[in-house]
Amino acid sequence: MNGNKQFNAQLRSQATTPIWSLRWLSVILAAAPLVALYFWIARWEIALALGLIAVLWPLTPARWEWTGSAGLVFLVLAAAGGIGLAAPPLWSLVGLAAALSGWDLERFTRQLLSAGQVLEPQRHIRRHVLRLAALVVLGLGLGWAALNFRVDLEFGVALALSVLAVLGLAQGIRHLMQTTRHG
């Protein structure tokens, strides 16, 4: 119990908490592949803007909750833009996965800081980070596999699969919205 109190107190001092270091690392990791990608294709202004986001994102005041979401949207668009500019898609995939983890860790940090007391905080953080790492690794693995295995499809089949994907996604999201409710 005493250890818990000590950790909770530590959690409030942002500089000494490992979760904040993780967040910095994640944001830098999120932006680094994309910055490198845009340097590679000689789009200096975008690379510079991404670098600036990477620096400013963790420095924004804690009460600006929208900054995390805005950062994620910007980095996802940057990753998609890289693919549009014929850059190596694997770099974009890595950048997106890292942006996702940066966004997640930022939300998690905010949650930890807003809670007055966190029960077994080390275990709580470890489990969160482990699940996030597993999902990111799985996502990268599947993405890498998808980029390397080529399946040729007829136009009709591709269209049917696309419609199926969109409908399935819509159904899934509707279910998600219904279950994420406020009582």
Binding site: W66, S69, L72, V73, V76, A79, A80, I83, G84, P89, S92, L93, L96, A97, L100, D104, R107, F108, Q111, L112, S114, A115, G116, Q117, V118, L119, E120, H124, R127, H128, R131, L132, L135, V136, L138, G139, L140, L142, G143, A146, L147, S162, A165, V166, L169, G172, I173, H175, L176, M177, T179, T180, R181, H182, G183
Partner: protein, 426 residues
């Protein structure tokens, strides 16, 4: 924006962009996002059934005493990966230690306890709901609800123990007390001498008077001591209050009322309370400890209020007080109160005014400033004139400088009945 909505929009954007540009790599970018969203769907809270129980170590405390609040939550449903519990403190309560919110994992059948200590000023504090948010470990699937966990704390006003409040109403009630009833009977105060009646104890015979008359015996008669009907009126009009950063004079008025109620009930009187302010709060007269509790609870809820109807004392509902009873008004006093109080006296009520001194209170806060000297002198003179006029009308007045303890002020001013208040037999 909810995280699930944001992720869904990004996935849509990437999928539709990939399909529109026939670029498989864009579709691939959606894979980590879909997995992340899917994990939320898979591990989100399923069967939710939480039970909350609040326990408060003491519901009824005096000012400045801390109260420990415990909140026990039991999970009767499925496993909850992340539970964020936030208790809402009633306005006016201050947390001393412990935490009011908790983030934890809660397996099925397990329970958690949130514990903290609070402190507050005089008042009635009601706990209603607790905000609970359940989610998966990544916080994608969230379920927020307010769970009822009622609780209440009464912070009683400060009270000073008064030895005796000397009152002398025109009528007493049929129960024993300490007010001389001007009727012969069992008592300790000598009332007079009357002819001996069969059954009078020998020690009551007045031998001196009997020796002066042949063939006649005389007995001493003692005065009965009874309780009285007392109506306490607390002036809760907003204009009677002076609220500063260093306190409110109304709080002193409440302290005085509570102390008077306690002393009068201890003396065996039948006491009622009327809080006259934004509205009328009437506590029906009664005796004893239960009545004391009723009055204290009414005082806990009392607060200064504004009302166009009750802005002046004219609307004081005098009919609720028994005829010829003792009325005690606790008020800072205004000039327009004078005719109402004189009218009450004329109707046969014995009126006493306990008046926390607003001039002394403000001077104490403002300090002595040369610029304010004249204003202070004028205000003091006005108040003195008002008090003198009230006293001339037969109203007992205690002008109480609140920097002085109330019991001390009472002892000096109201522990004896002044000669001019002694009632006339009717």
């Amino acid at each position: 924006m909810r995280p699930s909505l944001l992720l869904s929009l990004l996935i849509y954007l990437l999928v539709l962009g990939g399909l529109a540009t026939v670029n498989g790599a864009l579709l691939v970018l959606a894979v980590p996002l879909v997995l992340y969203l899917g994990a939320g769907l898979l591990f989100g809270p399923g069967d939710v059934h939480l039970e909350l129980e609040r326990s408060i170590d003491v519901e009824r405390v005096t000012q400045g005493k801390p109260v420990e609040v415990r909140l026990r939550v039991t999970n009767r449903g499925g496993h909850i990966e992340q539970l964020w519990l936030q208790d809402k403190l009633p306005l006016g309560l201050e947390r001393l230690d412990g935490e009011t919110s908790l983030l934890a994992e809660l397996p099925a059948g397990a329970h958690l306890e949130l514990r903290y200590r609070v402190q507050g000023g005089r008042g009635f504090y009601r706990f209603v709901n607790v905000q609970s948010t359940l989610s998966d470990r990544l916080g994608i699937m969230r379920w927020s609800q307010e769970l009822p966990a009622p609780g209440r704390i009464f912070v009683l006003p400060e009270m000073t123990r008064l030895k005796h409040v000397a009152i002398r109403p025109l009528q007493t009630v049929g129960y024993s007390g300490i007010i001389p009833a001007r009727q012969g009977g069992a008592g300790v105060e000598f009332l007079g001498v009357r002819a001996y009646q069969a059954g009078d104890p020998l020690r009551r015979i007045n031998w001196l008077a009997s020796a002066r008359h042949r063939q006649a015996l005389f007995s001493n008669e003692f005065e009965q001591e009874r309780g009285a009907n007392v109506g306490l009126i607390l002036d809760a009009r907003i204009r009677s209050d002076i609220d500063t950063s260093q306190g409110s004079i109304f709080e002193h008025a409440v302290t005085a009322t509570a102390s008077l109620a306690q002393a009068l009930l201890n003396d065996g009187n039948r006491v009622g309370l009327l809080v006259y302010g934004g509205y009328l709060a009437w506590t029906y007269p009664g005796f004893g400890k239960i009545q004391r509790e009723r009055i204290l609870r009414a005082l806990v809820r009392a607060s200064p209020g504004a009302s166009q109807v009750f802005d002046k004392l004219e609307k004081l509902p005098t009919r609720i007080f028994p005829a010829h009873s003792q009325l005690i008004l606790v008020s800072t006093l205004h000039h327009d109160d004078l005719p109402v109080l004189i009218r009450l006296r004329a109707r046969g009520y014995q009126v006493m005014v306990v008046s926390p001194d607003p001039v002394a209170f403000e001077v104490q806060i403002l300090g002595s400033r040369p610029a304010a000297e004249l204003g202070i002198r004028l205000a003091r003179l006005e108040r003195e004139v008002l008090i003198k006029r009230l006293q001339r009308a037969g109203v007992q007045v205690l002008s109480w400088d609140v920097s002085q303890p109330f019991d001390q002020a009472m002892r000096l001013a109201l522990s004896r009945i002044p000669p001019w208040v002694r009632p006339i037999h009717i």
